[in-house]
């Protein structure tokens, strides 16, 4: 056994953990959840909720598991009668002023107070004769409402704003049972990352205006995904209700975004629910535009590529997956003269006090993946090559008018699009593609970390992932070509990711490309 490890026994489970680990984290490794409110792995621990008191052998009194480090040979009881009685007492205290308005509370179903009270609270309250404390709802900022009645004063929000965002606009005001979370009267809760306080709040005290009364927690389907907003690549969960995306929340990944996500990324989901989606492939001839089935569309795609008499230009958007970019480039083949990604730029918004975590200027999730696969960022240069180009392949790009105008100079245009762009009436073939919420794929973030996202809902009509369309078109263009049958295969067949499978990436990703080489050095 290494000297950096200690042996402890938690609820009878012997484990070895690193020295200095707090009991609450050691218990997780032993498979024991210590109920808690104020503790959060990404925040400093104040040990104020007193929920995580556990029995430590030889200690004179119960110890807070969140700030008590393990010691070698320690025996900890999380579920002993004494510890349970203490938790029952805390839960009763928390409930004397907490309204039982769960039926109208957004948090119900994912509320830690509700969960632990059902798990081990007492049946009924002895605080029967008194009215509960009441204070009106307060508007804290652009997306956050504060419901003081439900607040259990765990102070996670205060600590997030102070120690993570570095913008201390929240503080505990007053004392005793009159205390509440107050906001600096001169400021609003408008830090670019302030929406995280809603996720951090263990009860329904801080709630999102955007999500208010939209869904009950138990109606939501949750899908692991990656935020397409910028090159940071924050891990997120897509919450869908009846195949509509209703909320994006951060998914923990200590190497990328810890437990956080910026407000810009959080709010950017409405495009996933568009009702005017392209549902069938469209092709144009002298007689006009015709809808067709995939067999006909793929044949047309193959013949357009095979018949291209001259250079091919590929124009890709920042949300296209590695699979889609890779197979589109494969489709373009050797006649490709230029391939560029359009990278919209914005203002960098760091979270504050967490290193290497920001809403990045480059608002293209897969910028790094595109680079690894051979895309340049010289958009203007690629556009300039369009006159005289035999075929332009446009892959899921937000085109501006100038781009559209320039595309008219290309002999033929194939447009991979989720929504029909009325300005692109000159396109020879428009192929309906699935969006981030509807397909599997991989983004490579700015630190060369390849991360998977999963489909949260089904694609409308005949829409398919772009990699599938491109690889099928590629296979039909020449005999003896075999297209990949799964997304994982489509990923592993790409040269920069050769040999990797989705299983290797897991759900929190791994480093690829120069990052791997760097690690090897």
């Amino acid at each position: 056994m290494s000297t950096d490890m200690v042996s402890v026994t938690i609820d009878g489970v012997p484990i070895q953990v690193a020295k200095g680990t707090m009991i609450i984290e050691a218990a997780k490794q032993a498979g024991v959840v210590v109920p808690h409110y104020c503790y959060h792995p990404s925040l400093p621990s104040p040990a104020v909720c007193r929920m995580c008191l556990v029995e430590v052998e030889k200690a004179p009194k119960l110890m807070p598991a969140c700030v008590t480090a393990v010691a070698d040979g320690q025996v900890v009881q999380v579920n002993s009668p004494v510890a349970k009685k203490a938790r029952e007492g805390v839960l009763e205290f928390l409930l004397i002023n907490h309204p039982l308005d769960c039926p109208i509370c957004d948090q119900a179903g994912e509320c830690e107070l509700q969960d632990f009270v059902f798990q081990e609270g007492r049946w009924g309250s002895r605080y029967d004769d008194y009215p509960k404390r009441y204070a009106p709802v307060e508007d804290f900022g652009p997306d956050v409402l504060y419901v003081p009645n439900r607040c259990i004063l765990c102070t996670r929000c205060v600590r997030f704003m102070e120690s993570v965002a570095g913008d201390s606009v929240l503080e505990v005001y007053e004392r005793g049972d009159r205390a509440f979370i107050g906001i600096d009267p001169e400021h609003a809760l408008d830090h670019p990352w302030s929406g995280n306080v809603v996720d951090l709040c263990p009860v329904g005290s801080l709630i999102s205006k955007d999500f208010l009364h939209k869904a009950r927690a138990w109606e939501l389907d949750k899908t692991a995904s990656i935020c397409p907003g910028c090159t940071q690549g924050c891990n997120m969960t897509i919450d869908t209700r009846d195949s509509a995306v209703v909320r994006l929340r951060p998914r923990p990944n200590l190497d990328v975004n810890r437990h956080f996500m910026c407000d810009t990324g959080r709010a950017d989901y409405r495009w996933m629910n568009r009702g005017d989606r392209l549902e069938a492939p469209l092709w144009r001839d002298a007689a006009g535009v015709h809808a067709c089935d995939w067999d006909a569309a793929l044949d047309r795609l193959a013949s357009l590529v095979a018949g291209a008499d001259g250079a091919v230009v590929v124009l890709a958007g920042g949300r296209a997956s590695c699979e889609s970019i890779g197979w589109t480039l494969q489709l373009a083949g050797r006649r490709r003269r230029a391939a560029a990604m359009k990278v919209p730029m914005g203002i960098e918004a760091p979270i504050g006090l967490v290193p290497n975590l920001a809403l990045r200027r480059e608002r293209a999730a897969n910028l790094e993946g595109g680079r690894l696969l051979g895309l340049s960022t010289d958009w203007v240069g690629a556009i300039a090559l369009l006159p005289g180009t035999a075929l332009a392949i446009v892959l899921d790009v937000d085109l501006d008018d100038a781009d559209v105008l320039a595309l008219e100079a290309a002999a033929h245009v194939v447009h991979f699009a989720a929504v029909l762009d009325p300005r692109m009436h000159g396109a020879d073939l428009v192929l309906p593609i699935a969006t981030l919420a509807e397909e599997q794929g991989v983004f490579v973030n700015r630190d060369q970390r390849a991360q998977r996202y999963l489909p949260a809902k089904s694609a409308p009509g005949m829409a398919r992932p772009a990699w599938w369309i491109a690889s099928q078109g590629w296979a039909r263009a020449e005999a003896n070509r075999r297209a990949p049958t799964t997304a994982s295969e489509a990923f592993g067949m790409l040269e920069p990711f050769a040999g990797l499978t989705y299983r290797d990436l897991g759900l929190t990703g791994c480093t690829v490309g120069a990052g791997i080489a760097g690690a090897a050095r």
């Binding site: 104020v48 928390l94 004392r175």
Partner: protein, 435 residues
């Protein structure tokens, strides 16, 4: 001296010798009375020698916990290259306690001298004296004394010509009882909300501004010059209970006695003598009902317990309570004890910092149940409820404020059950409690 009364023959005036002498407040007057001789002596001593002297004297913390002072000082790291701090706790807010106030009002230079000596012992250049916000007069007197000490070269870059820097900063509180808790006090000095901190780390490791810090009570520090002057053996022998409880202690007595005031007694003096001789006993025709010997946070004592109790740390513990801060509240048979306990609980509910769930909600709930009892609306189960709440509030929180709220409730119900039963069976007048 039993300020504001003349010295009683059974008192042992060491700290209180000059109470009531206006001239002792001034630098000149203090020097005339032998002031700053101890500091001069200490400037010639090695830090460890000062610590050993104080250790040998048996001086224990006078703020309430009674921790040996010399040992506390010896926890400070040596030669660690970081700045050290001394905090003087002058946030005397324990209900019934007003002993530090007299030191601050009459002999502020004794405190300054004690701070300076303690600074030498713990190798700290700066002392923060955290003075209670409501202490307006004591603040101005202390402020003037500190200014005078600077003007006369006692404090500053070259203290008494020794070449050593000794600074004292007087910091006024804003009226929160909890800021008398040492870690909350450090937060308050740092400009944060006065919430107690989790220990560990202990202040001697990471205290004020994250640096090694010692926190001592006013009375503790004021006793240090006397120890340096008179010697550890002399100080220790002042007590009847030496060596466990050494020296003298200021006891501020209030309530139903004929001469309430601040008395300096030798530790171990029978509590009965303190009440009946020094304080002149109860008012005529009254009998003793209860005594809170050490500020609102300690258990209540019955007359039987008082009968045989010596006034020292161990003696009072053996008799069911604690010496605490030495703020003694004497109550005679006219006292409504349930009301007293409700009033204490309401105080703690008002002063809870709101950090810990058990304290924030428990103190307020306890108060409400006691109010209900007084109003004649109590239920038979209320006493069990109070005891269960007290159990949930004891030993479960960061600091001991909620334990302090529970202590009088538990001891009250255990020792004065009849008073509580009277509330329940309707044999007493209903008290409607104003907010």
């Amino acid at each position: 001296m039993g300020y504001p009364h003349p010295i009683h023959p059974k008192e042992t005036p060491v700290l209180s010798k000059h109470f009531g002498e206006v001239a002792a407040r001034t630098y000149a007057g203090w020097v005339e009375r032998g002031g700053y001789a101890a500091l001069r002596k200490a400037l010639g001593m090695a830090p460890d020698d000062i610590i050993n002297e104080v250790k040998a004297s048996g001086l224990r913390g006078r703020g309430g916990a009674g921790f040996p002072t010399g040992m506390k000082w010896s926890f400070m790291p040596k030669d660690d290259g970081r700045p050290h701090y001394l905090c003087c706790n002058a946030d005397e807010s324990e209900p019934g306690t007003f002993k530090d106030r007299e030191i601050l009002r009459w002999t502020p230079h004794a405190l300054i001298e004690g701070c300076a000596i303690a600074q030498l012992a713990i190798r700290a250049a700066t002392t923060y004296i955290y003075i209670r916000g409501e202490f307006t007069e004591p603040y101005h007197i202390l402020r003037r004394a500190v200014d005078e000490a600077y003007a006369n070269g006692v404090l500053g870059a070259n203290a008494l010509g020794s070449g050593k820097r000794i600074d004292i900063v007087v910091h006024r509180g804003a009226g929160a009882y909890i800021c008398g808790e040492e870690t909350a006090m450090m937060n308050s000095i740092e400009g944060r909300r006065g919430n107690p901190r989790i220990k560990p780390p202990f202040p001697a490791v990471a205290g004020l501004f994250g640096m090694p810090t010692t926190i001592n009570n006013v009375e503790t520090l004021a006793a240090v010059p006397a120890i340096i002057n008179g010697g550890a053996a002399w100080y220790s022998k002042l007590s009847l209970s030496s060596p466990k409880s050494a020296g003298t202690k200021l006891i501020s007595v209030c309530g139903h006695v004929q001469r309430p005031g601040t008395y300096e007694i030798t530790l171990g003096l029978p509590m009965k003598e303190l009440i009946y001789d020094l304080c002149g006993g109860l008012h005529p025709g009254r009998t003793l009902k209860a005594v809170i010997p050490g500020g609102a946070s300690v258990p209540i004592m019955t007359p039987e317990e008082v009968e045989t109790c010596p006034t020292d740390y161990e003696g009072i513990v053996a008799h069911g309570s604690m010496l605490g801060s030495g703020g003694m509240i004497v109550m005679d048979d006219t006292t409504d004890l349930v009301y007293v306990i409700m009033r204490l609980a309401r105080f703690f509910a008002h002063e809870s910092c709101s950090q810990c769930t058990n304290c924030r909600e428990g103190t307020a709930w306890t108060t409400r149940v006691l109010e209900r009892l007084l109003a004649g609306e109590g239920k038979a189960s209320d006493l069990d409820l109070l005891l269960d709440l007290a159990e949930n509030m004891t030993g479960k929180t960061i600091c001991v404020l909620s334990d302090s709220c529970a202590a009088p409730v538990v001891s009250g119900i255990q020792k004065f059950r009849a008073d509580f039963d009277a509330c329940l069976n309707g044999s007493r007048a209903v008290v409607t409690v104003g907010a």
